[in-house]
C-alpha cells in the first residue's frame, strides 16, 4: 500500500494541519457515530508520527495522571506508543460529537472492576457526551481503537511475526480448551500453527475485553472459539471463503453464545486484529433463540419471534480507518491494509 504520508512540520504555537487549513488550536474533524449496524476500527502506526512538536502537542492533551504513567514507561519507543495510545483514545472519542465541539482534554476515564477503561461523565456533561463504547489495544508498532455507538466491544492486536517463548501445545493445554488444543495440534506446519495460535489468542482476548473482564475474571479454558467454516470443511469437505467465528461456553454442556460477533483481520500487513462486538446492543450470554421461543404462543407471537431473531443476527459492518490525530485519516476498508483472514 503506497501511502502519501508526509512529516508535517508544525509551528510550536499553532496546529497547521494542512496547507489549505487555517491554523487553529486543537482542531479535530468530527465523525458521524457508527449506526447500530456498524463498528469503527481506528488505527495508528507510531513510526509514522515523527514530528517532535506534534508529539509535544499530544502530551498536552493527556491528563496529569496519564502523563505520569507515560513517564514511568521504560524506553523511548514504548513511551511513544503509550502516549499515542492515550491520544488516539481521547481524540477519537472527542470526534464523535453529537452536540458541539468536545475538547479531548476534557474527557474523563475510569476503570471498571476488572480494569477495563471506560468513559466517565459528570451529570452536567450529558448534553455533549457521545454515546460511544470503545476498546483499545496496542503493540510497540501499532495502536488500534474500536468504537461502537452502544454495543460492548473488545479489540486485541498481535504482531503476526511474534514468537512464542513457551511450547505452543503446552501453553494451549495449560490455558485453552481441549477443542482448541486439538485444532492447534492438527496443524503440522509450525509457522502456520504459531499464526493460528496468535489469531486464537487475539480472538479470546477480544471476547473477554468485550465482556469487560480480563483473563483473570474469565479464564480462557472456560470458553472455546471455533471456526464454523473449519468444522463444515472437516465434515463434508466444503467451506465458504469467509469463516464464521463462534464462541461456546464450556460449562458442562457446550452452549453457543450467539450474541457475539467476531471479525478477524490482517491489519496494516503486520498484525492480526480481532474485534468482538455484541450484536444489536445486547450484552450476550443467553442464546436469543431461547428468549424468542419463550416469548409467545399465538401465531402473531411467532411472527414476532422470527423478526426478533432476524434483527439479533444482522452482522455488523466493520469500517477500518487509519489516522494520525489532528493530521488526517484514510479509509482502509476493502484495501490490503484490512484483510479479513481465515481462521
Amino acid at each position: 500500500m503506497n501511502l502519501l504520508w508526509r512529516t508535517v512540520r508544525i509551528p510550536m504555537n499553532t496546529f497547521c494541519l494542512h496547507r489549505t487549513f487555517a491554523a487553529s488550536a486543537l482542531h479535530l474533524a468530527p465523525v458521524q457515530l457508527p449506526s447500530r449496524a456498524e463498528s469503527h476500527l481506528w488505527y495508528l502506526v507510531p513510526d509514522e508520527v515523527k514530528s517532535v512538536s506534534l508529539l509535544g502537542q499530544y502530551s498536552e492533551i493527556l491528563s496529569p495522571c496519564e502523563n505520569e504513567y507515560v513517564a514511568c514507561i521504560r524506553g523511548e519507543q514504548l513511551k511513544k506508543t503509550a502516549l499515542l495510545a492515550r491520544v488516539l483514545v481521547r481524540t477519537t472519542i472527542a470526534r464523535y460529537q453529537t452536540d458541539g465541539y468536545i475538547d479531548p482534554r476534557s474527557l474523563k476515564f475510569r476503570k471498571n472492576i476488572h480494569g477495563k477503561p471506560e468513559l466517565e461523565w459528570d451529570n452536567d456533561d450529558s448534553g455533549s457526551r457521545p454515546p460511544v463504547q470503545f476498546n483499545i489495544s496496542h503493540t510497540a508498532s501499532l495502536i488500534a481503537c474500536g468504537v461502537t455507538s452502544s454495543s460492548p466491544i473488545g479489540v486485541d492486536i498481535e504482531k503476526k511475526d511474534r514468537k512464542i517463548q513457551n511450547n505452543i501445545i503446552s501453553f494451549a493445554r495449560r490455558y485453552f480448551t481441549p477443542n482448541e488444543v486439538e485444532r492447534l495440534s492438527s496443524i503440522s506446519d509450525l509457522n502456520v500453527q504459531r499464526q493460528h495460535f496468535l489469531k486464537l489468542w487475539t480472538l479470546k482476548e477480544a471476547y473477554v475485553k468485550a465482556l469487560g473482564k480480563g483473563i483473570s475474571a474469565l479464564p480462557f479454558s472456560t470458553f472455546t472459539i471455533k471456526s464454523r467454516n473449519f468444522e463444515k470443511k472437516e465434515l463434508n469437505g466444503s467451506g465458504d471463503s469467509d469463516p464464521e467465528i463462534t464462541v461456546e461456553s464450556v460449562d458442562g454442556q457446550r452452549s453457543l453464545l450467539s450474541n457475539w460477533q467476531f471479525t478477524l483481520l490482517e491489519l496494516a500487513g503486520t498484525h492480526f486484529a480481532a474485534v468482538c462486538v455484541a450484536r444489536d446492543g445486547s450484552m450476550g450470554g443467553k442464546n436469543m433463540f431461547n428468549f424468542g421461543l419463550g416469548y409467545g404462543k399465538h401465531f402473531t407471537g411467532l411472527k414476532s419471534i422470527l423478526t426478533v431473531s432476524d434483527k439479533c443476527f444482522t452482522p455488523k459492518k466493520l469500517t477500518v480507518m487509519k489516522t494520525i490525530p489532528f493530521v488526517g485519516d484514510e479509509s482502509m476498508s476493502g484495501t490490503d491494509a484490512a484483510i479479513v483472514c481465515g481462521f
Binding site: 476503570k111 513457551n166 490455558y175
Partner: protein
C-alpha cells in the same frame, strides 16, 4: 510490628499515587538480610495483610524469566519494583511469564491471581506463598 529489628530488613510501604486498582506499594529495604513480616495495605479494599517478602533469589529468578520473555538485555535494569506494564509486557507476555514461573518453581498459578501480579515483587511473593502452600 515486632520491636526487635536487629538483623532483619524492614520494608516501609507508602501508598501509590496513580493506580486506582489494588496496587503494590513501593518498598524500601533498610537492611539487607533476613526477611521480616510486614503489613501491606491494599488501596481500594482497605484490608491489611501480613505477608513475608520473597527471598532475593526468587526475585532474581523472576527477573531472569521476565528479561527472557521481553527480550531485554541481561544488563537491563529489572528489579522487584519493576512493573510489567512499564517494561512493555502485554497480556500474552504476562501469561507466558507466569507459565515460565510455574515450570521453574513447580507451582500452579490460577488465572484469578494474575490480576494481582503487577510487579516482579508481586510475582515473587506469590511464588513463595504457593511453594509454602505446597509444602515444598
Amino acid at each position: 510490628m515486632a520491636s526487635s529489628v536487629a538483623g532483619a530488613s524492614i520494608c516501609i510501604k507508602s501508598a501509590s499515587q496513580t493506580s486506582n486498582r489494588t496496587s503494590r506499594l513501593r518498598s524500601v529495604s533498610l537492611l539487607n538480610s533476613k526477611t521480616f513480616p510486614f503489613l501491606i495495605s491494599y488501596k481500594g479494599s482497605y484490608r491489611l495483610q501480613i505477608c513475608c517478602a520473597a527471598k532475593p533469589e526468587t526475585v532474581g529468578k523472576v527477573c531472569e524469566i521476565v528479561k527472557k520473555q521481553l527480550a531485554l538485555p541481561d544488563d537491563s535494569d529489572v528489579t522487584g519494583e519493576s512493573k510489567f506494564a512499564a517494561l512493555g509486557a502485554d497480556s500474552l507476555d504476562t501469561v507466558e511469564i507466569v507459565m515460565g514461573l510455574e515450570e521453574e518453581f513447580g507451582i500452579s498459578v490460577e488465572e484469578e491471581s494474575a490480576q494481582s501480579i503487577l510487579t516482579v515483587q508481586d510475582a515473587a511473593d506469590l511464588i513463595e506463598k504457593l511453594i509454602e502452600k505446597n509444602g515444598h
